[in-house]
Each structure stands twice: as C-alpha cells, then as structure tokens.
C-alpha cells in the first residue's frame, strides 16, 4: 500500500532535484525548468496531504500554484527572449551586469 510518506518522499526528492538544478545550473532556461520542478514537488505534497486529511484546501492550493506557475512562465519566457536578443546568451556567468 502506498501511503502518505511515499508521496512526501517523492515530493522531497523532486524538490531536492529542483533545488540542485537552481543552484548548479547556469542557463536561465534551465533555471526555469528547475523552479517548475520545485513547484510541482510542492504540488504533489499539497495534494497528498490534502487527501490524507480529507481537506480540499490543499488541492485548491495546488491548482492556484499551477495557474500562477503558468502565468509566471509566460512572463518569464518573454523576458528570456528579450534577454537573449540583447545579449545573445542566457548563461548567467555572462549576464553579471550588477557586480558591486
């Protein structure tokens, strides 16, 4: 029988993969993917816990997260395209224009 802890372990693993992606990746597009992975890890946790407690609030939250992630990607991709047009690259090491 697959229980709550299995779901949470999958969620934690996914979140860790996303976090490592955020920390290690240099390409902005890859960073976006990594954040999406993290968001979906959270969504899994929300849905699982919601089911566990028989409370729909968590699943509702997951829907909101999906909706906001979709709009975020829409805006973010737009910015990425502009950045790429301007700099010809999406590598973060080349985009360090705010050095203190």
């Amino acid at each position: 029988m697959i229980g709550l802890s299995h779901y949470l372990i999958v969620s934690a693993l996914l979140f860790s993969i996303g976090l490592i992606g955020v920390l290690r990746r240099r390409n902005l597009l890859m960073l976006f993917f990594a954040t999406e992975v993290m968001l979906n890890a959270v969504n899994i946790a929300f849905a699982a816990i919601s089911h566990f407690y028989n409370d729909l609030t968590g699943q509702m939250f997951a829907f909101f997260v999906i909706a906001i992630a979709a709009s975020e990607v829409a805006v973010g991709l737009g910015i990425l395209i502009v950045l790429y047009k301007k700099h010809g690259s999406l590598d973060l090491d080349d985009l360090a224009t705010m050095k203190g």
Partner: protein, 632 residues
C-alpha cells in the same frame, strides 16, 4: 502703579539690550547709544520713584510675574521685591549704569563694535537688576550667573588682542583675563550652589521669607554650612582672597566696564548677598567673624599691592578690592547697614575714579603706566578735579562721603572689641590715602614724562564730563544722608548702635583715622608732587618686588594649578581620551566599515551566486527555527 514701576525698572535694560543687539553686526550708530542711555534713564527714574515711595510709605512692593519651576514640592516663581535694601541697590545700579552708558557714547566713539558694546552693557544691567530684585535665592542665582556671563563678554570685548607674556602684561590678554574671571567665579559658584542646596534640602523652599522664617528650627551646623557655602560664592564674585586675582586682570576690559561692573556694581554682589541673607549670617557668629577677618585681611593685602603698582587702572582695581574688604568687615561684624552704606558711597566715588581714569587713557592713547604720565592737570582740569575729588573721598577726608562710610566701619571694628581688625583697618586707611594720591600726583602733577611727539593729551568730550557730574556731586554730599539712610534701611536690616564706650572715644577714633589719611596724602605729596624720582635700590628690594608681583600669587596659581592641570589634561587626552574613548568609537566604525568591505564581495552580479546565498539563508533560517523549536 508700583508694580508697573518695578517692571519698568527691571525690563528697561533688557529692552535696551535687545534693541542694541539688533544693530550688533552693523557699523557704529550713535543713536543706539543714545536710545540705550534713555532706556536706562527710564529705569533709573522708575527705581528712584519706587525709592521715594518706599521711603514715604515704608511698604515694600513685591510682584510675582509668573511661575518658573513648579514640580512636586518644588515651587520657584519669578518673583521680584522692591524693599528698602533692593531699592537702594536698584537706584544705585541704574544711576551708575545710566551715567556709564552716556560716558560710553564718548569713550567708545572710535570702536567699531560700538553697538555690540551697548548690547552687552545693558544686558549686564538687566542681570544685575534680576540679582538685586529677586525675592528668592534661585532668581538671585540666575542674576548672579547673568552678570558673570556679561562680565566675561565685556572683559573679553577686545578679544582679538594677542596673548603677551606675564612680564609684558600681567593679565596676558583680554580673552585670557575673561576666561580667568569666568573660571574663578565658577569655582566660587559651586560653593554658592551647595549653599542653596543645603537651604533647600532643609527648608524646602528658596524664598527669602520662608528660609529666614525657618532659621530658628535648623541645627547650628547646618546654618554654619549654608552660611559658609554662600559666603564662598560671595568670595568669588567680590574677589576676596584667594579668588582675588581675576579682578585686577579684569581691567583688560574697556574702562566703562571696569567702572560699572568691576568697581561699582557686580563685585559688590557678594556683599549684597551677605547683607540680604543677614538673618542667616547673624546667627552664625563664627562664619561672620571669619568674614570680617578675611575682609580686613583683603583690605590690607590689596592696599599693600596698590602701593607700588604702576598701572593706573590696576591701582584703582586694588583699591576696589580693598574697599570690598572693608564692606565685608562691616557685614561680618553685624553692621549690615553700614556695609550697605559704604557699598553705595563707594559705588559713586569708585565709578567716578574709573571714569576719570578712562578720560586719562583716552588722552594718553591707552597708555596706563603712571610713570609715563605727569603734568596732565594743565590740559585736563575737569578730569583732574573729578579724580582728585574721588581720591579724597576714597581716602576718607571730611566731609566727603567716604569719610562717613569708612569711618563708621572702622568705628564698628573698635566697637566690637576686635582691636587687631581695627588697627589693620586704620593702617589700611593710611595706605589707601597714600596710593590714591600717589596715582593722582603722578598722573596730574609734576613733570611731563610722556613723549611729546607721539602723544597730545586732550580733554574728553564736554557731554561726557557733564554726565560724570552727578557722581561727583553724590561723592561729595552722600555723607549728609547717613542718618536718613540708616532709618530707611534699618527698618529691614538689623539696627547697629555704637556702645557708650565707643561714643566716648568717637572723636579720638575719627582723629586717628583722619590723621592716617592725611598722613598718607602728605607722604604722597612729598614723594611725588615734584615729579618722579626713581629709587633703584628700593625698586630692586625684595618687598617691592613681592608687592609689584602681587605676592607672586598669579605665578603660584600658574605653577601649582594651571600647569599641573594642563599636564594632567594632556595625559588624560593622550591616555584616556585617545586610547580608550576614541579607540572604542573608532573601533565600532572600523568594524562596520571593514565588514561592509568584506561582504561587498558577495555582490557579484551573478544571479546563480545569489541563488546559492539564498539557499544558504533559507537553510540557516530553518536550522534556527528547528533549534528554537527544540529548545522552546
């Protein structure tokens, strides 16, 4: 009506000061001086009217303007009282200050800070009025400090003059002298404050009436402590030994200032305090006797230094010190009204003497050495008459004012059976006569020792000479009012009567004093009337050197107090201030600066690094939350 007069007498000088202050930064304007003098004259008329009124009705006028401090049990109002004592002082102060204001229009004629001078001078008069009119010790203290500040401003009026060595100029420079006066007075004011605290602690009020009413209920040692502490304050303001050095150095200020502040009014504030607090001092016989003894000592001590001094203004300053000693002697022996009488008479002739000295300075282009003068009576006859008259009064020659007031003090010393004090005061009277006429003869008689090519002596402006005449008249006739004055002020002050025994000898006593005075004048006449014959041997003798260097007391203070103090300050500056205080403050700033400099490197501009730091921060926060959750 009477209340209004009190306010006019009090605030006319303030209005005058503020008016002159509006023009302080602008070039000389004669009308500033004229309006200031008129305002002061208004104050004088108000004071004189009050005096006449109180004389006829015998009722004091007291007003409470407003509450000043009120919290808990402490209640101090801005209250003013015009009674027999304060109205005497008010009339005297406002009269002399009016004359000095008019005089200053002439004397400060060429000074570019003419307007500023009037502002300070009037501010001084206002402070002095607060001092004498206040009906509580707190108000008196405010006036006390106010006159101190104005005195500082006025001594250092020519602050731009450079410092000189003590040999070239005993008071070094105006700004030095001003600081000296201010600091000496601060030392004494601490004593005064302690006295006020003792009184407030034990009585719960600083109103004169409440304090004096509570005196019978207080312990003797508390009374002694309070009286002594208050007298220490008086010693500073009235320049009694050992706080006397500032007064002669204060002569660096313009001469009208010397006349008004450092001879006639401010320096008598100490005597006024003792007179005002007579219920306290009359129940502390030991302290009172100390006051009398110190006063007598200072009278003699100052007169001895005046014998050999060459500086015109310093001689007069020493005579002021000496006469203040006389006043304290009288007050200490319980003859408060005689002290007040001498205070007023002294104010008239001393102001006259100083203003005359100002005329001489004006004529001699600020030369003050009487060895370099002589023969001035030909060109300056009115000044000669004024100064001669004032010196005769100072010497105590019948029937001038000084005769009546000083003789009464000397008689008091005899009457109290304090014969040592009596002998010293009589000898001092002889010395006073000698040095005042030494100065008159050296200045006005004999050969002309000044440089004829450089200096063309000329008499002062006419209006100045006319303005001085009331002082001359009062110096002559004030003695005639002695009995009236006695009945007037003894309705407030304790009466003092000579015993039968003294009455018996009164002619003899007067004769002895007069003999000493005339002897002093005669000696000065023999030695100095012809001119100056310098006696090298005498001038190099030890005593002469000791006296002309003021017993080396200023040098002693420099060596024993100023220099060690400067040395300790230097040590503390380098050791404590720089090494501990500054280093702590600098260390904090340095740490912040350095940590900022180090952490600046975090800001690489690389988003990836930022994200890493963000993850680190999130982990730290989570660990912290976990730890607190576990502990909590």
């Amino acid at each position: 009506m009477m209340e209004k007069l009190v306010y006019i007498a009090l605030f006319a000088p303030l209005v005058s000061s503020l008016f002159a202050a509006m023009f302080a930064m602008t070039p000389r304007k004669t009308f500033v001086g004229i309006i200031a003098s008129l305002l002061l004259f208004t104050g004088f008329v108000a004071s004189a009217t009050l005096a006449v009124n109180i004389f006829t009705t015998g009722e004091a006028v007291s007003v409470t303007m407003m509450q000043w401090i009120g919290m808990g049990d402490l209640y101090i109002p801005f209250g003013f009282v015009a009674d027999q004592v304060s109205v005497t002082m008010m009339t005297m102060v406002s009269l002399i200050s009016t004359i000095v204001h008019v005089y200053s229009i002439g004397y400060m004629d060429h000074d570019k800070s003419f307007n500023r001078f009037f502002s300070y001078l009037s501010a001084f008069v206002f402070s002095m009025m607060v001092l004498v009119m206040s009906d509580n010790f707190a108000g008196l203290f405010i006036g006390w400090e106010g006159v101190g500040v104005c005195s500082w401003l006025l001594i250092g009026f020519w602050y731009h003059k450079p410092d000189q060595s003590r040999e070239a100029n005993p008071s070094i420079s105006p700004s030095w002298a001003a600081n000296e006066a201010f600091i000496m007075n601060r030392i004494a004011d601490l004593g005064m404050l302690v006295g006020l605290f003792i009184l407030y602690w034990n009585v719960g009020s600083l109103q004169y009436d409440d304090v004096f009413a509570a005196i019978p209920n207080l312990d003797q040692w508390i009374l002694n402590g309070a009286a002594l502490a208050l007298f220490i304050g008086a010693m500073g303001k009235s320049a009694q030994f050992p706080l006397h050095t500032w007064l002669t150095d204060a002569m660096e200020g313009p001469t009208p200032v010397s006349a008004l502040i450092h001879a006639a009014t401010m320096v008598t504030a100490g005597v006024f305090l003792v007179i005002r607090a007579n219920p306290l001092f009359s129940v502390t016989p030991e302290v009172s006797y100390f006051i009398a003894a110190l006063g007598t000592f200072v009278a003699f001590f100052a007169a001895s230094m005046a014998l050999v001094n060459r500086d015109l203004k310093r001689i007069i300053a020493f005579s002021t010190l000496s006469q203040l000693g006389y006043m304290f002697a009288a007050a200490g022996l319980g003859a408060y009204w005689i002290a007040l009488f001498h205070l007023v008479a002294h104010a008239f002739f001393k102001a006259l003497l100083f203003l005359g000295a100002g005329n001489v300075m004006h004529a001699m282009h600020d030369e003050l050495d009487i060895f370099k003068m002589g023969g001035l009576k030909k060109v300056m006859r009115p000044t000669y008459i004024y100064m001669g008259l004032a010196s005769l009064t100072l010497a105590g020659i019948f029937p001038l004012a000084g005769f009546f007031s000083k003789d009464a003090i000397i008689e008091t010393a005899f009457n109290e059976g304090t014969y040592i004090l009596w002998i010293m005061l009589v000898v001092t009277a002889g010395m006073t006569a000698f040095y005042s006429f030494r100065q008159v003869f050296l200045t006005f008689h004999g050969t002309e020792r000044y440089d004829h090519h450089e200096i063309h002596p000329h008499e002062m402006y006419k209006f100045v000479l006319i303005a001085m005449s009331p002082l001359a008249i009062l110096a002559v006739i004030a003695g005639a009012f002695k009995d009236g004055f006695e009945t007037f002020v003894t309705s407030l002050l304790p009466a003092y009567h000579m015993s039968e025994h003294t009455h018996h000898y009164v002619w003899l006593l007067t004769a002895i004093v007069t003999l000493f005075a005339v002897g002093g004048i005669a000696l000065a006449y023999i030695k100095y009337n012809k001119g100056l014959e310098r006696n090298e041997k005498l001038e190099n003798s030890f005593i002469y050197k000791l006296l002309s260097n003021q017993y080396y007391i200023p040098n002693l203070y420099t060596e024993l107090i100023s220099k060690p103090y400067a040395m300790i300050s230097e040590k503390f500056w380098h050791g404590v201030d720089m090494k501990i205080v500054d280093r702590t403050v600098d260390g904090v700033a340095h740490f912040l600066y350095k940590s900022g400099d180090v952490n600046r490197r975090m800001q690489t501009g690389n988003l990836s690094h930022y994200l890493n730091w963000m993850a680190v921060g999130a982990v730290v926060l989570m660990v912290a939350a976990a730890v607190t959750a576990m502990i909590g």
